[in-house]
Symmetry: none
Subunit: 415 residues, 2 copies
């Protein structure tokens, strides 16, 4: 029998005890029969995505949960998000996450999202910007693409580039954009900063009197008269999951950052109609896609972004509702997979506190059910119950070897 | 609200089960309502200061508990203790912990502490020794200081020195002192050994007929006619705590070694009247100093040496009494800090067995209480109860990131 595994990652689902919930966590309060079923029938524990006390980003945490040493390979967000948005970025390319934004005549940023500019406008502007030509000599080329609304990608390809450069995005309104600065003394960092600054300068010239912006002015919409860059990164050059474990690995995720990580490790990334990466995503459609995908895969990662969105908003009630919806997805999975051949693991990529609104360094709960796990006495799936489980406390990068070993896919070390 | 943290380290407080206590530990037998209160209201676990099975020294363990990788940075005791005793030692200086001692005419050590020579005598002798001049050419200078009683510091500063040299102290009476030997083939180790041997030789000449020793002979006190060296070390060049976490960090400790570690990581070290580093220390004065210090600090380390002293003496009864006094300190802290903004962690730097009289490699209990910890079901603070807690088993160097994350002071890794 071909053994298979599903790993469900609920983004930022773990939390800290909250006063308004009687010092319980959203997971402890939510009605979650399927998560509890996984805990009851399986083995539980707590997991430090990166290391105890370190608040992880979703990209670094997802690398870790896929078995990679994030501390060694992680090299920034921009390129991962670009790749996940369907922009062709290769290892070595240096990519920024960018926004169309609105500034006044003095260069002060008035709106970091240019009124959440509509896709059609953004696409037209991006096409014009792609025609800009770099004047100063270099062997670099660039690629500028619109993804969703104000979100764009700037990717630079060339032989001597570096990610050791600063952002231009001030991160808030009321301030001017900064020049991109080299963060070390390398010729690569200086060249990358020079090229990016030149591009941003030329972009402004094109945007100033662009017909799209003139049209927006008539509609009293803020002009997209600048591009702000941040989160520079590159695609780490890693061995594919399929190579490491001889498996077919698939990802069901809508969030571009997570899709980018999964593409980086060579996973097939499935598109699901109605999966949006928002709180309004079609949870059941994603669960159905997992069951379908599993027919031709050994390993499927299912990622849900919504829990993190509610957490960052400090919306405890919504977080609980989303956990209950995720529980519904898991119910569908439990009812539609073969329990004799399928392992199902449920975890989070990090704790997001609804009180601080930030990613936090607390561990996350992990539960694995399936035919041969050493089930423990844990009866409920939550942060504190799982801490008493049979897995004890593991690291994010331990999880994938554990799952792959259950599937008989890990190599013996020693003779 | 500005969040703060207090870390209480009771030196060698953890122990192993002892037959005369009905196979319980001193912590299990002691009356300790405040420690239990921390455990009950907080999250508990066990902690390997360095690694499972490794008996830690207090210096290495304190580095670890402050978040540093002791295995990488630790470079000997001498310089740390010197720094902690108020001697000006800089990174790069090679420092020995030394004793004034008494030998007979054949050079056999009769008393490793020269009759626990009084401070006034020791200071006068040290002043004379500081005047010795190195004869053989080198770019090195030295500093010789008396600290407490027989204890002195020899610190050598120069461009080409090494800590790869042996002790001269035989560690027991009835034997001769050894020459300092280079422990590797480097020119630096050879030079350091040569300089130190020359100094020790010159010191003996000065001490032989020193007026202080002639005066001691009249009082029938053993002469301080030699200097014994051991524990060579240097100050590791590390990033300050304040830089790593952007905090104000303060230390309340009397033991020179711990004060030296705290100075090395850039902490402010507070002097407390009556804090002696002995079993007779003024426990309450230290607790008061912590509460006062906390007003202008984000993080305060409170170290108590007495538990270790009783353990090395194999004095179980005294160890229990001291634990109860430490519990009193913690009671004062619990009553005088704001529970809505202050985290309080209690641990030990290592296990010291009252049976073997040695530091041992067993983990130590850890409990953290404060506003947003994931409190667990542990009701008592002791080695075995804490082992069932929500922190599970962590490493010494994990603790500081966990505490700093609770204070919102850790940087996100990834995006």
């Amino acid at each position: 029998m071909r053994l298979k595994a599903i790993l469900v990652i609920a983004d930022g689902m773990a939390d800290r005890p909250i006063k308004e919930l009687g010092w319980r966590t959203p997971l402890e309060v939510a009605r979650k029969p399927s998560l509890n079923q996984i805990a009851k029938s399986g083995i539980c524990g707590i997991l430090d995505p990166i290391s105890p006390g370190t608040p992880p980003g979703s990209d670094a945490a997802t690398f870790a949960l896929l078995g990679y040493d994030a501390l060694k390979i992680y090299s920034g967000r921009g390129a991962l998000e670009a790749l996940g948005s369907g922009v062709k970025v290769l290892p070595g390319d240096v990519a920024f996450r960018c926004n169309f934004a609105t500034m006044n005549e003095s260069g002060v940023v008035l709106d970091r999202r240019a009124g959440r500019i509509a896709n059609e406008d953004a696409v037209k502007l991006a096409e014009s910007l792609q025609k800009v030509e770099l004047k100063k000599p270099s062997n670099a080329k660039f690629l500028f693409r619109s993804t969703i609304q104000h979100r764009t990608v700037l990717s630079i390809r060339g032989p001597k580039l570096s990610t050791a450069v600063s952002d231009s995005d001030p991160g808030k309104t009321g301030e001017k954009a900064s020049d991109i600065k080299p963060l070390d003394n390398s010729a690569e960092a200086k060249l990358t900063a020079r090229i990016t600054n030149e591009l941003l300068h030329e972009f402004q010239k094109v945007l100033r009197n662009h017909p799209v912006n003139e049209e927006r002015a008539k509609r009293r919409l803020p002009p997209a008269n600048m591009v702000l860059c941040r989160g520079v990164g590159t695609i780490p050059n890693v061995k594919a999951l399929s190579q490491i474990y001889a498996i077919k690995a698939t990802c069901v995720a809508a969030a571009p950052l997570v899709r980018g990580v999964c593409k980086t490790v060579g996973m097939k990334v499935v598109d699901v109609k109605g999966a949006t990466g928002t709180t309004q995503t079609n949870y059941l459609a994603k669960a159905r896609a997992v069951v379908q995908t599993l027919r031709n895969s050994d390993f499927v990662l299912l990622h849900v972004k919504a829990t993190d969105v509610a957490s960052h908003d400090g919306n405890v009630k919504q977080k609980i509702e989303i956990i209950e919806k995720i529980d519904g997805m898991l119910g569908y999975l439990l009812n539609n997979i073969d329990p004799n051949s399928t392992y199902l693991a449920a975890t989070a990529d990090h704790t997001t506190s609804t009180v601080t609104g930030n990613h936090e360094g607390d561990p996350v709960p992990i539960a694995i059910t399936g035919p041969y796990v050493r089930y423990d006495d844990v009866m409920e799936y939550d942060e504190r119950s799982c801490a008493t489980g049979g897995l004890n406390r593991i690291r994010g990068m331990d999880l994938m070897p554990i799952l792959m070993n259950l599937l008989g896919k890990t190599a013996k070390f020693g003779a």
